[in-house]
Symmetry: C2
Subunit: 311 residues, 2 copies
């Protein structure tokens, strides 16, 4: 299958308790593509400025991803984000956001990108997501991410595009915010009634949960003693999740396939946070990913040993 | 095996988005005993006042638990707690705490309670926990819970008693607070170096994680669409966890036994939060618990379906 991702390509400056980095390559489309490219051919759609160099393009090209639809805006500057993480890396403060070329971004998809079987609409303005969704009319699996800002200021547009996708991947608290339901299960059911057949609630260091009409599945995050930089973990998860689904789509989305997609997403996200920016996932080996999925299997399985209980 | 629990017996007034209850039976020892009594014989040690009636004693006696060491303080009033839960039940505010008979509590254990094989030191002043630990010299498995207050004002005493137990069961954030380590895995390793061989980090609606020298195991909470009252969930978890271990102690604490203990603790906690106070766990059937453990197995398992990955 071929995967198209539309989203941000960015320079990120991050400050963590373990040090910082300035203007490293980031952005949702970047992190997604680096993970998804292990599974299938990825086409990246997003704008960059004059400050985006050949070295950065090379990273985007990792594992054969196509950058034909990476739009270079002459005279423009690449999207920039600066953030500072708290003591336990579970909270972060945005120090600076410069939309730059992203401010007037109108996704232009080549015929090849439009012909994708699998589409990931990374977190951008819901109206643009809807436009891309309509351009990719033949996509067989469409997943979408969003954020609190769009739930606040463009909820109706967001619900419109959500009604036309297969899978919503959202932070746990955003799912509650979107539905105004405090309970994860009922929030997910509410969204399932609006169109998508798969909901993934990202829960940061606690892992992720998958909810469909028929089932609930939860997987903890891979336990790490050293987390360096959580930036991009959610998009890396999405890349592993959607990438695995893309690879298995021809055979149908069984419960086993969805659960493995969760495991591959979780494994890839865990590598992402072990280094700054794209450092780890860029250089990752296939065997390391497989090993981590095996580890996840090992540290979540139990065989029921029943005992006699008092009545 | 016989299990002794030392801790609070209380009246709780709670206010939740789904309604409230006044002066219902609660307390750590109560919730623990109701869960642990499914597995083995429980002896409850704790003080109550003149306001504690026969109806409440009957609940403590559920499934044969012994109340011989429930000390009735003449002229005293039972420990009282009042709390208000937030929108998503993940935050709560203490409105009122009246220590009452708990203020001058000195645990007096009968010979039978002292002769226990399994001991649970529920959250009370660490000096008292140490005293009880020493009284139960022959206990083969000792678990302990504590809270942020004691980490703040009695850290050294708490570390002293922790050095003499087998298993620490603590909220995730309290474990980080105790060790001043922001990372769960390294916080747990720090405590493992101080004596206990098993650490359980309770993560509320996200479930719980188990860390030993050799392994990490995480289990999500059982997904519920309706959570009514989270009061006592942690102690109910501890009752299921320690109760299961008590039952299997003779055969040794294998990885499989510890994982099943996590599953039974998780299952029992999920029932606890479905009703106010002790309502649900008191009336629970053995088959409902077994069924929920089976459900937990089903909603956490996956079989690895490997795919070819790009290099």
């Amino acid at each position: 299958m071929s995967i198209t991702v539309v989203g941000s390509i960015a320079f990120d400056t991050v400050d963590t308790p373990f040090g910082g980095r300035e203007r490293m390559l980031g952005g949702a489309a970047t992190h997604f593509a680096l993970a998804a490219s292990f599974f299938d051919h990825v086409r990246i759609v997003g704008p960059v400025g004059d400050d985006f160099g050949e070295a950065e393009l090379d990273v985007l090209r990792t594992r054969g991803s196509s950058i034909d639809d990476v739009e270079r805006v002459t005279g423009g500057k690449t999207f920039f984000w600066e953030g500072k993480y708290g003591w336990d890396l579970n909270t972060r403060e945005t120090i600076d956001t410069q939309l730059n070329v992203f401010e007037h971004f109108e996704p232009k998809l080549s015929d090849e990108s439009r012909a994708c079987e699998v589409l990931f609409l990374a977190n951008i303005q819901p109206g643009l997501q809807l436009d891309v969704r309509q351009q990719c009319a033949d996509a067989r699996f469409v997943a979408l991410d969003s954020m609190d800002l769009w739930i606040d200021i463009a909820r109706d547009e967001l619900l419109e595009v959500i009604s036309r996708i297969d899978c919503l991947i959202l932070n746990d608290e955003e799912l509650r915010q979107l539905t105004q339901r405090p309970n994860l299960v009922s929030a997910a059911r509410e969204v399932l009634a609006r169109g998508p057949s798969i909901i993934v609630a990202k829960q940061g260091e606690h892992g992720a949960a998958l909810i469909t009409k028929d089932e609930f599945f939860a997987l903890p995050a891979y336990p790490l003693e050293t987390v360096v930089d959580p930036t991009g973990a959610g998009d890396t998860f999405a890349g592993g999740f959607v990438g695995y689904i893309s690879r298995q789509l021809a055979g149908g989305l069984s419960s086993d396939v969805l659960r493995n997609a969760m495991a591959y997403g979780t494994a890839l996200a865990s590598f992402n946070v072990e280094g700054f920016g794209t450092d780890t996932v860029r250089e990752l080996s296939a065997s390391a990913i497989r090993q981590r999925v095996e580890d996840l299997w090992r540290l979540t399985r139990f065989d029921h040993l029943a005992v006699e209980l008092a009545e």
